[in-house]
Each structure stands twice: as C-alpha cells, then as structure tokens.
C-alpha cells in the first residue's frame, strides 16, 4: 500500500521513450504547428505525435472534410501536411518551448515502402524521439491503409524502416480489419518497438435533404467517444495474445481519466488523446492527470504502471 503522503507516479516508459505521464496528443489533432504542440505539453501532455508527414507537402481534401455525428465526428482531412522538410521549423519551435520535457514522435506515411523508408529517415533528421508509421489512414486513396491491412506488407515495411533508423519505431494499426491480432503479430515480427491502436473507423454521412454524402471525399473516419469500445476491445485482444510482447499505446475516444484507466486495464502502457480536445479544450490533459492521481491514491497504488493489463490478465 502506498503511504498517503506519496504522490503517485504517473511516469511510464514506452518502447524506450520516457514519458512523465502516459498521455500523448494523437496524430492529426491540434498538431500542425510547433506552438500548438508545445501548448498541449503546457496543458499537461506527456508527449506529442505530429500530424502525419509525407516527403512532399499535401493540401488534403477540399471542404467539407469534417462532419459531426452522434458520439464523435467523421473526418476526411486527406493527410494535409507541409512536408517533412516544411515541418522542421515546427519541431525546432516545439523543442525550444518544451526543452526536453516531453518527447515528440513523428508520424510518417508514404505510398510505397521506399517512400515510408525515405520519410522515416528524413523525419529522423528532424531530431524527433520516435517514429510512428501511419499504416492506417482510411482517407487518402492509395496511401497508408492498404499497407496496414496486409500482414506480409507490414512485416516488410517495418523491417525496412527498422534497418535504417536507430529510433524506436511504432506502428499505428487500423481497426478496419477482421483480425487485428494478426496485424499486431506482423508489426512485432517486422521488429517494431510498439503498437499504436486504433485509427479511425471507416464511416460516412449522407444528407437526406440533398441526397449527397456530406464529405467531399464521400467517406471518412469516425473518431470520438463512439469508437472507444472498439478501441478498448482491440487493445484487449492484442494484450491478451501471449505471443505479443511489444507495448501497446491505446487511442480512440478517450476524453476522461476513467477512459485512460479503461484502456490501460485492457493492456495499454500509454494512451493518445485526439477528438476530445475539440470539445474539452487542451486542458483535458491536466484534468486527466488529476483524476489518474486521485484514482491511484484511492486504490492504494504507487504507480500508473500497475494498471496496465489488469483486465487482460497480462502485464508488461
């Protein structure tokens, strides 16, 4: 039992990346600029993931690229980004503001294995602390998703990237599959250091007055509280598989500290927060930290690490 005077420890280590708390800003949310990412840290995030970056700049899909639905939103941003080189200034700004307090992970993608490899080495050159391979964006045709649904491709992709970088490599999985555990095994077999799950669920919204899909891209990805049960199930299934030993970062619909605990009990070592930032403001991180500490105190635990896998019957 922790003695009442001890403040519970929220720090975790994920794939060799040391985090002062297990809460990261998810890729693609309020992270287009160094100043915005630094602000998430100021509000309490333990780390950030950049928006997904490609070798060349991309404008993304034309508006409407977002539509609010019950329990969340559907987005088809189309991976807009200023290109990896165009993002250098943002990373520099971030590092100046945060002074090593919170690691930054670069999310990268490409349209071929060669592009993923090149993007990864370019991103490493920006001085980031880790790489997240986005193999799961459902919104950009020919990019990402098909790489993330085929275990054979995943193994080769991860292996190629790992061979050319010294950084920890995470792979972000899609829930748009009938068997996420097989994909997770492929990620591990390729040599990745961690798994991130889940990305958005393929979805769409049709306006019945005009008889049109609202999104210009017609379909998009569902995020927010509505997808949390799916994400928790995915993390649980992977964590429960005895042969999957690399750590899991949970993401999808997290908006309160209770949600964080739920994901961690399912088997996550750390989590990412995305959509809820739009409703709750960036101070969701501060609120969550308070709640996590109180929960640990109340249940007599010293460290957040003790939560991981409680419900999955496994610990990392």
């Amino acid at each position: 039992m922790a003695d009442d005077a001890t403040v519970p420890d929220l720090s975790v280590e994920f794939a060799g990346i040391k985090l002062s708390n297990p809460l990261l800003l998810a890729s693609g949310i309020a992270d287009e600029t160094g100043a915005s990412m630094a602000r998430a840290v100021k509000e309490g995030a333990g780390g950030v993931v950049t928006k997904s970056l490609s070798i060349q700049p991309r404008q993304g899909h034309p508006n409407p690229c977002i539509v609010e639905v019950e329990g969340g939103l559907i987005n088809a941003m189309g991976l807009p980004n200023p290109g990896i080189e165009g993002f250098r200034e943002e990373i520099e700004h971030y590092k100046k503001k945060t002074r090593g307090r919170a690691p930054i992970i670069a999310s990268v993608f490409g349209s071929s294995i060669e592009e993923y490899v090149e993007a990864s080495t370019l991103a490493e050159g920006l001085g980031v602390d880790g790489l997240e391979l986005n193999g799961s964006c459902p919104n950009a045709k020919g990019l990402g998703l098909q790489f993330g649904q085929d275990p054979v491709v995943i193994i080769e992709l991860v292996r190629e990237v790992k061979a050319r970088t010294t950084l920890p490599v995470l792979f972000k999985l899609t829930p748009n599959t009938h068997d996420i555990v097989t994909l997770a095994r492929a990620v591990q077999e390729g040599g990745a250091d961690g798994i991130v799950a889940i990305n958005t669920l393929q979805a769409m919204k049709i306006d019945i007055m005009t008889a049109r899909p609202v999104l210009t891209n017609t379909t998009g990805g569902l995020s927010g509280p509505a997808i949390r049960p799916v994400g928790v199930r995915c993390v649980f299934e992977m964590a429960r598989a005895p042969d999957i030993r690399i750590p899991i970062m949970g993401v999808g619909g997290i908006s309160t500290w209770e949600d964080v605990i739920e994901y961690m009990m399912a088997g996550a070592t750390a989590v990412q927060v995305g959509t809820s930032i739009s409703w709750g403001n960036l101070n969701v991180f501060g609120e969550m930290k308070k709640g996590l500490r109180a929960f640990l105190m109340g249940t007599g635990r010293r460290s957040i690490k003790d939560i991981t896998g409680l419900a999955a019957g496994v610990g990392h």
């Binding site: 287009e32 600029t33 100043a35 915005s36 409407p64 987005n75 200023p82 995305g274």
Partner: protein, 278 residues
C-alpha cells in the same frame, strides 16, 4: 449540421449579399454571442466560415453577409430563395462586453466586409445601454454596408472611404486616432474597442492602441477546415482561431508574432500575408 432552405437573399452593396435562413434549432442560435461564426456548406461547392451578421426577427432568422471573392462566396451570393445550404455552429468565442454600462464607451472599428462581424456586436452594445461610437470604413460609397442599421443603433456614426465618395477620405484608423486622442486616462480605462476588417487594418489598430490604456477585441480570420479545434489548420501563433477565437483580446494579439505577417496554406505551410497596405 442542419440543412435548410434559404429564406431570402438581400443585396447589400456591390458584390455583397446577405443570405438568410430560418434555423430549426432556435435555442442554439439564440445563445449565440456576436462575433461567433458558422460553417456554411454549399452542397457540391465548398464549406466556408461566415460570421453571423443578423439574428432575430419573426420568424427567427439568421443572416450571413457575404462578399463575392471566389468560388464559394460567389455560389453563396448567387443563391436563391429555396436553395439548400448546410449550417453548423455557432462556433468560437464572441465579443465580450463590460458588465455594467456605467461610464463605458464602446468604439466599433469596422473595415470592409469585417462589418459583418461587428454590426451585431455594436447593436448588442447599444441594447445593453453602452455608449457607442461607430467608425465604419469602406473602399467607396458602393461598398459601404448597413447604413440604416448603424444609424439606428448609435447616435454617433462616422464614415470614411478610401476615395472620399462617402464620409471623409482616408482610413478608418484615422477616425480611431481622432476619437481616442482627446480621452483622459480615466476615460481610456472605460473605453473598449471592437474591431474587424482586413488584417493590415487590424495591425494598425493594434499599433495605435498598444500602451494606450484602451482595451480592444479583434475578430481574426485564418483558413478553416474543421471549425471545432481539431485540425489546427487555422493555427495562429499557437492559437486555434476557430476555437480560442475568432475574437481575441489586445493582450493576446500583441503576443502573436504571426499576426499581420504570416498565415498558413491548406497544407499548413507558413506563407507571408500580402504586403500591408494601411
């Protein structure tokens, strides 16, 4: 998103029209604060942010005053009664007013189609019993907006145009300089400026008011995609204009290094704003 039929389109000035709708979710829009905006979907064309320039009447209506400068705004100005458009919002933070009107003066500084954002705020200021001064600038007489509404809402309305075809010739910041010049430091403490217009104009207002002891709120614009604070495309020196703004206080604006200098294109790349002309 609420998809509705346009109830009216009112020509306001050259290339500027007000598009009216009658929202079903009245409570949602009755709670709107002047300065907040909506995202307007023109099916098959685009979705763009628009300030709310009119609210009320019976049946309860919402108006957006649109300047035709490109594809989406042209489509909006060309709408006809009965056409369908989608609306989501209201979003963002609007203008704030002094708690009690006692001894306060509110100066509206409006330039061009920026008046679409300030008109509702200044009408609200008068309704709250605040003393108002309306400084309204436009390129020329043909693009001056809302004359009737300004004059109904305040007894002190001053116009200025670039070419002198209405009111004096000059820039609206000239009027502001004159209006605040004679104020004592005590009066300055009870003066609040509300402003919206082209960014170079806002930069001039900022520079004029810096260290003046007068408070100011600025309504700013950046490229918007989501409108709800997730995508960061409207990022301005670490602020998301759609959610942290679009109305910002002078103290915030003074710390925005990108203000008047840079905006971001659709890919998020920082690009210089066009040269300041005022």
């Amino acid at each position: 998103m609420e998809v509705l039929r346009v109830s009216n389109v009112i020509p306001e000035a050259r290339n500027i029209a007000t598009v009216m709708i009658e929202p079903k979710d009245i409570a949602r829009f009755k709670a709107l604060r002047p300065g907040q905006f909506v995202m307007v979907w023109v099916p098959g064309v685009d979705e763009v942010p628009m300030s709310v320039s009119f609210l009320g009447g019976s049946p309860f209506s919402l108006g957006m005053t649109v300047q035709d400068i490109g594809e989406a705004t042209h489509a909006l100005c060309s709408l006809e009664k009965g056409d369908l458009i989608g609306i989501r919002g209201p979003y963002g933070k609007g203008f704030r007013f002094p708690r009690s009107p006692e001894g306060w003066m509110v100066i509206g500084v409006s330039g061009g189609v920026g008046t679409a954002s300030t008109i509702l705020a200044m009408e609200e200021a008068s309704r709250r019993g605040l003393r108002t001064v309306e400084l309204v600038g436009a390129r020329d007489n043909g693009s001056l907006l809302f004359r009737g509404r300004w004059e109904r809402s305040s007894s002190d309305v001053r116009y200025i145009t670039d070419d002198g075809s209405s009111g004096r010739q000059g820039f609206v910041t000239d009027l502001l300089r004159e209006a605040i010049g004679p104020l004592t430091s005590d009066e300055r403490r009870r003066t609040m400026v509300l402003t919206c217009g082209p960014e170079p104009m806002l930069v001039s207002v900022r520079d004029l008011l810096k260290g003046s002891g007068i408070g100011c709120q600025f309504s700013l614009e950046r490229f918007m995609k989501c409108g709800i604070g997730v995508c960061d495309s409207c990022s301005l020196s670490g602020h998301r204009v759609c959610q942290d703004g679009p109305v910002f206080a002078l103290s915030q604006v003074l710390r925005m290094e990108e203000m008047g200098m840079f905006h971001r294109d659709r890919s998020g790349r920082k690009v210089p704003l066009k040269e300041c002309v005022r």
